[in-house]
Symmetry: C2
């Protein structure tokens, strides 16, 4: 047995699909990968097999899709890799979150019960469910009024995507669901429950999405009571106070689950994780000093640190949430891929579109090629990347985008490049804020599939931040991370590793390709960044609240239009 | 004879063509119109019949085109209208300017002489000749250093399109042309010379383009000597000090000219005019209180007033230059049609272009239709209309355009509308500056062909300025103006009018269509205008010189690129 290779499985539940991979524990090399697209996808309009309509902002999923994902992906990994199930030494699971599933005491989703399946609040509310915005806003206000210390850990703002706004929404709008739900549980913890029969709650999701911290625990009963007297004991009644550390074994694969997955029973299953954070060790980052940026529609920036710092405009700070013994800091940009999408959909002239088609390039490639021919500073343009507000460091949804420096010769590729540059300036602003607060950052690691398509963004990012930029090698960073956490959960004796650091150093890799700042461009961008900063501070810190006033006028007119229609 | 109708001819020399019209003196009704496109057009690349290349920025014309224009247009008016030449009681001429023609003492253009025709400086330099920018900049600096009082009348800046920069350019770069040119003369005065045999210089062109004023005359010899000792006596050597008032008879049509035009000799010919100013009486404006805006690629704003006011950011102030006894004030926006052209050429997405084609609309119409469906303030966008710098009131070429308020749902028509709105805000800024300086303005009259195509701009302009907007009726405002000046030159005894006021009241008309401010929209625009003002002042008055610094960076990079290529 000992000469045989050993493997772990990482299962990553995303928004549209579940991806599972089987990797070699000794070096992280992929043995097999398998993807299952949820049959019901994201449910936003009507509940499946019914004509029950959902309000705008709702986003649900069907837990049977999760189970089907397990049944379809894992057996396929084994089949395709031809690996002996005996060689699988651990399983890790990550999930997009906060995904809140109301269940009975034994973990049965309420929606599986005939009585509740026509009630939208009985269904899992996924991350992008935004219908609890009102509750989130009230939570923020309440916490601010009460000077709750937890608010500081989240940059002063509770997000509608998080755990308690969704639970509160259910409490207020579907009391029978709230009352009959014996548990509200994160998607990742629910999957682990299905695999092991053990109900656990992980530190990562509790810390980043449910206001928990290692030193203070969950908010106090008095806070929940201030939300609503009926919620005072929500933690004790509907959750668990004991949390499972990340990278540890929660339980073993049950007989039933083993049959479902075509694996042997008894395999160690690691604590569940949120997908974004699970990816970190897969980018090789398990120590302070390197920032991981998940580039996507919006961007997430993560840094590990040994001490607790107060950093303006963070999205979260969780001790032990990613790497045991370290604090994981998170910041974010509400705009990146969605901004470039906006440009491609709204601002590319017909002659460009025609030329791109002729050259068989998609518009992103075409615009990138044209923009890449420009020199830093050549356009004379500068933009504020606030098309979707500003998360870090200003934490202000009411800000909006700006482009300055247009002239009659301004070309579309100059505007496109100014948007890439603005994204980079926004990232540098976040990095400088971290550094100014005492958190060292010396290198940037990029994860997410987006950057592969946009080398120019990475080049500009290196020049603007004046840091070397490297890319995570795996295209399955979250699933690989789960496989790494699984190897840690298995432990040295189980064929894995004693520490997450060791597991990551063996199993995670970076691409050879690296982006090094150009000595000239970084000088030009230094000058441009100081212009960005002037504008950032002028519009961001209330010297001129034009953006907020314009948004208020706009909102008023749109509401009036809506009333009249 | 007395019961026979009487007519005047207005001849308008534009940039690409000459338009002549024959109008009924009693009511201004058009009897015939004729256009001649210059055979040589605008000469920008190589001199005709040669391989002599022109530098960038050069723009010349061939005076033989002017003579051919006279020969082709006027006889056609007579032929087509079947009017008896005896019924023509006056001729007026206007010309785009400053168009500087070097001639011999008898008015022969130097370029007609074999010796000079291969020298670009011997050719008429037309308004849009921009190669004398350096001389213009030096003139501005010199006048500022010497505290020359004339500089204030031009908003502190000498334009490269004006008379003396072009003459100085010739002096510096082609001394033989300067020395052999016995005269430098404006196009309009040169035509009048051809028609009457009389060399005259008109107050209008001298005032708006050659630094002359009624109270101070031309700049002093000491100023010209400071430019260059050889230029000290430029006025006495190459020009004339006596100027002809507008709307007066300079001379009579000569035998030779009458043969050329197929008219009777002896017809009174009016003082020449610049085209923009000749148009004013044709818009019915011959008194203070109403602003005429010539909408075009860029906009010109003109107001008459009884007293001399110092108004920030004007382009010119000339006593008697348009209407005898009144001062004519001019302001300008460097952007309007050219800004919309920029948008149409660079920012309309393919699906819009396709839909417009399907509906057989041009893109301007299509964008206007879409933008017209939006409410004031609905887009949340605000723009600074400085794509081509700002003429009035900031007089700053180094400013650039800006759009603020973008979000991920921002649509192209919202951006398009924000550009129209920005143009209107810029106009309101000019109007408010006039009013604050003591010049009353109560109504706006629009001239130029551009607005006919863009009703939305006029609607927005009315709502932003909170003034009624009316349109000049004639599509030949400059030519009609020349015909009105001709009727004044003929005088009451000659079958015309005693005053310009009387001539205009009989011969000029407005369209019935009128744009009246909407009570709701004007309130919204009042709020938006205050946002425009905040941004205008912040970026325009140096609180944040980002635009200038970005332009300096941009210029540096472009120059480096040029050197390397």
């Amino acid at each position: 047995m000992s000469e045989k290779k050993q493997f772990t499985i990482g299962i990553d539940f995303g928004t549209e699909s579940c991806k599972a991979i089987l990797v070699d524990v000794s070096n992280g090399v992929l043995a097999a990968a398998s993807e299952y697209r949820y049959a019901h996808g994201v449910i936003t309009d009507t509940l499946p097999d019914s004509n029950i309509q959902l309000e705008p902002g709702w986003a649900l999923q069907d837990p049977s899709d999760y189970l089907n994902a397990l049944k379809r992906t894992v057996p396929r990994l084994m089949r395709e890799s031809q690996i002996d199930p005996e060689q699988v030494i651990g399983i890790g699971v990550d999930f997009a979150g906060s995904t809140v599933i109301p269940t009975t005491a034994d973990g049965t989703p309420l929606v599986f019960l005939e009585d509740y399946k026509e009630e939208p609040n009985a269904w899992p509310k996924i991350q992008r469910h935004h219908a609890a915005q009102e509750q989130a806003d009230r939570l923020t206000r309440l916490a601010a009024e009460r000077f709750e210390t937890f608010l500081d850990r989240y940059g002063g703002k509770i997000n509608a995507e998080w755990f308690f706004p969704k639970v509160w929404e259910t409490y207020e709008n579907a009391s029978s669901i709230y009352n009959n739900a014996e548990r509200f549980i994160e998607g990742c913890d629910w999957i682990v429950w299905q695999l092991t029969g053990v109900e656990s709650r992980n530190v990562c999701a509790a810390g980043y999405k449910a206001l928990w911290s290692k030193s203070e625990g969950f908010p106090l009963e008095t806070f929940f009571a201030a939300m609503d007297s009926g919620l005072a004991n929500v933690v004790d009644e509907k959750m668990k106070r004991e949390l499972s550390p990340v990278g540890q074994q929660v339980g073993e694969l049950t007989e039933a689950a083993a049959r479902m997955l075509k694996l042997r029973p008894g395999i160690p299953v690691a604590t569940g994780m949120l997908d974004t954070y699970a990816a970190i060790p897969a980018t090789t980052v398990v120590e302070p000093g390197r920032m991981v940026i998940m580039l996507g529609s919006s961007n997430t920036h993560m840094v590990l640190a040994e001490k607790e710092y107060r950093i303006p405009g963070m999205c979260g700070m969780v001790e032990d949430g990613i790497v045991p013994g370290l604090l994981g800091y998170e910041a974010g940009q509400s705009c990146c891929g969605n901004l470039l999408d906006w440009f491609i959909n709204n601002a590319v002239p017909e002659d460009y579109a025609k030329e791109a088609r002729k050259r068989k390039m998609d518009l992103f490639q075409f615009m990138e090629e044209k923009a890449d021919k420009l020199k830093a500073g050549e356009s004379g343009l500068i933009a504020l990347d606030w098309w979707n507000g500003n998360r870090s460091i200003l934490v202000d949804d009411d800000l909006s985008g700006m482009i300055l420096g247009y002239n009659l010769n301004t070309k579309p590729e100059e505007i496109y490049r100014s948007l890439l540059e603005a994204t980079a300036y926004g990232t540098r602003k976040i990095i400088e804020t971290f550094i100014a607060s005492g958190v060292p950052i010396n290198e940037i690691i990029i994860a997410g599939n987006y950057p592969v398509q946009n080398k120019l963004l990475l080049k500009i990012l290196a020049n603007v931040t004046r840091m070397e930029i490297r890319l995570a090698k795996s295209e399955y960073t979250s699933a690989l991370g789960s496989a790494i956490y699984a190897a840690t959960a298995a432990g040295e004796t189980g064929g894995g590793y004693a520490t997450l650091q060791e597991a990551s150093s063996k199993m995670a890799q970076l691409k050879k390709e690296t982006f090094i700042p150009d000595s000239n461009d970084k000088k030009v961008y230094n000058r441009l960044y100081s212009e960005y900063t002037l504008l950032h501070d002028y519009f961001g810190y209330g010297h001129n609240n034009a953006m907020k006033r314009l948004k208020a006028i706009r909102t008023g007119i749109l509401e009036k239009k809506l009333r009249q229609s």
